[in-house]
């Protein structure tokens, strides 16, 4: 089975949201994804990185790490931060829930990640950080 992996670290600046999703898309390109599959991955990565910037580090600059792994046709993306963490993961994952309504957030970030990827796992410890693991199996041949 074909395997490959990469790791990316960058400061939690909003300018890097675009950079991060483009890098993951470029890495995933070796799986010959469809345009739709690549758009799904970009959107999910953008949501996870935005969460780390807004909620994890709350505008302060910290490090965001993205690790990607390819196993056969399966792409695993792990987005992690060492930010303030999530107190109540179940509540945070509810559609339309946002802890920052004043920022005009839609509360749809986790819902988008869940919908656009095959699976989503969120692990978080307050004041330690958050780790989001997303998996997508590419259907294209």
């Amino acid at each position: 089975m074909f395997e490959n992996e990469m790791k990316l670290e960058f400061p939690s600046k909003s300018e890097n949201e675009s950079f991060a999703r483009v890098v993951v898309a470029a890495f995933a390109a070796q799986l010959d994804p469809t345009i739709e599959e690549i758009a799904d991955v970009k959107t999910a990565v953008s949501e996870a990185v935005t969460n780390s910037i807004i909620h994890g580090y709350e505008g302060e600059v910290g490090v965001i790490t993205i690790e990607c792994k390819i196993e056969g046709k399966k792409l695993t993306v792990v987005v992690s931060d060492e930010g303030k963490g999530i107190e109540d993961i179940e509540l945070a994952m509810q559609p339309l829930y946002t802890s920052r309504p004043e920022l005009e957030r839609s509360g749809m970030g986790f819902t988008v990640m869940e919908t656009f990827m095959d699976s989503l796992k969120v692990e978080s410890t307050p004041n330690i950080g958050t780790r989001v693991t997303m998996v997508k199996e590419f259907k294209s041949i």
Binding site: S14, E15, E17, S18, R21, I35, E36, A39, K42, T43, S46, E47, T50, I53, I54, L103, E104, R105, S106, M108, G109, T111, V112, T115, F116
Partner: protein, 111 residues
């Protein structure tokens, strides 16, 4: 993200080009709100034809402007949605409150 405004009398048309994410949404929201106030625009038409990426930050931008416009009895409609942007709209249930049209003339006649 580049914004072009067109005041067509009945509505303010906001043509966006580029990527609508958390980074770009903050300035987009300020520019649109300033234009709405400057023109006293009642209705708003979002043209997404040249938006090549949008995540849930874009949902916040659309809903935020919708809340503002309906306060004065106005309407918000969208045109130019690509399949990938339409998918984000669908997940958020945006079509329950905002109608989509094939082109500008149909959007204008709906208002």
């Amino acid at each position: 993200m580049i914004l072009k405004f067109d005041d067509i009398g009945k509505a303010l048309v906001v043509k966006m080009s580029g990527e609508l994410d958390h980074h770009s949404s903050e300035i987009v929201r300020i520019k649109i709100d300033n234009k709405i106030e400057e023109l006293g625009a009642k209705n708003l038409i979002f043209d997404f034809a040249e938006v090549n990426f949008m995540d849930s930050s874009g949902i916040g931008v659309v809903i935020g402007r919708y809340k503002k416009i309906i306060q004065y009895g106005g309407k918000v409609v969208v045109i130019g949605l690509s399949p990938k942007i339409k998918k984000v709209f669908e997940i958020a249930g945006l079509f329950k409150i905002i109608d989509e049209y094939d082109d500008l003339s149909k959007a204008v006649s709906s208002i």
